[in-house]
Symmetry: C2
Subunit: 235 residues, 2 copies
């Protein structure tokens, strides 16, 4: 089996405005451990991840180092990097910490604390094989494409629609070139894969999980506590 | 203000295979009241709804009458109709109970117990005005269009994408013709609006709600109990 060296970029740039709490959502406790701490522990334990770049809001760098990375013994968190205005800007700042030894870059949302170890490893393996890999799950609801006037334009067939998750993994040169190109042309995407897709590079989907939720609302947090009981803490 | 007479078709045809329980999900208890009972109570209380047609699996007609409609005093439930194989077949069976006095048909999922009274009324008013109305909410996640080979084809811009909910309301002649046409041509859609859209009839979107969830998994049920605490039972 090919050995690849992967670096994880964990993006936790959010100011948490959608939460009722004043504390940015990535620092909220999920059964005693901050969401971001839980996320990092998953990558600390994933054998295929060699190093972690953690990206947090610029005022939080010290807090994240002391209260998250050090406290939860995230030895792989070699860099704590200041984020930018948007998620994409934060990932770009994270990518500055990548070097030539890194074969694969795996990018993950800091507020998505339940990626399985298998999913992390699969995303890295598929990226090594195919260039780019993104976990997806089927949609349970009908999606509509709606015009400016509020009239429905189309209902795309659900068979071909998927919801994208993270970890999204890429060969180094692919994601670096995609980011360079996006910033050259002022393109902002809703996820990292969209920057790669627009280069014409094939992006492979892999099976995500309904448990791999992103926590952005109080309801998500409650669901997270429920899932924690179901799937176990993994720490 | 124009007075319109609306009939609600509540579709609860599901056999509940996605739930762990043997009981079809529409009969599962949500804090002491079956999900379907909660849904029906909302339409019983909505002033703009004159009559309810309840559609349940064919073996459940007596159970639904005795244990749901009668027990929770759903006086508007004039018809309890046997459903078909798919949701669309069940709605078609429900539409057989519509008559010429009904101006508006409002179709709703039996396992979606938290539509607000305002949303039910708005859907009916907008259908009276525009012909067809569908509640939608923004998407929190990135959607991908994926090919048969698992490679991503496109990431549609999130600005124009919405998740469709129910109640979906239509002028009688519009939805009846849409169903006739769909069955004539063997078309199956994922929601009622999609049958109307393919006729070229404009369908107006109205603001839905994140609370207006569809309960199809154990996690949904737990979220439902949480929402019940937040928004109150409304009964």
């Amino acid at each position: 089996m090919m050995m690849v060296q992967a670096v994880a970029i964990i993006v936790a740039g959010g100011s948490g405005r959608r939460m009722l709490d004043d504390l940015p959502k990535q620092y909220l406790s999920l059964d005693g451990v901050p969401i971001l701490g839980r996320t990092l522990i998953k990558f600390e334990k994933a054998p295929s991840v060699g190093r972690i770049v953690l990206v947090v809001p610029k005022d939080d760098v010290n807090y994240a180092r002391d209260e998250i990375a050090d406290k939860y013994r995230i030895f792989k968190a070699k860099h704590i990097q200041a984020g930018g205005e948007t998620r994409q800007d934060s990932v770009r700042n994270g990518l500055e910490m990548v070097d030539d030894r890194d074969d694969i870059i795996v990018i993950h949302d800091g507020v998505r604390p339940f990626p399985s170890e298998e999913l992390i490893d699969l995303s890295i393996r598929e990226a090594a094989r195919m260039g780019a890999a993104v976990p997806v799950i089927p949609l349970k609801n009908t999606v509509k494409i709606v015009g400016e006037d509020g009239i429905i334009i189309d209902t795309p067939g659900r068979n071909n629609l998927r919801l994208a998750q993270t970890p999204q993994a890429f060969r180094r040169e692919i994601i670096l070139e995609a980011y360079r190109s996006a910033y050259r042309e002022g393109f902002y995407g809703t996820d990292d894969a969209s920057l790669v897709e627009r280069m014409g590079v094939p992006v492979k989907t892999i099976p995500g999980s309904h448990d791999n939720i992103k926590i952005t609302t109080p309801e998500d947090l409650a669901l997270g506590e429920l899932l924690l009981k179901k799937i176990g803490a993994g720490i």
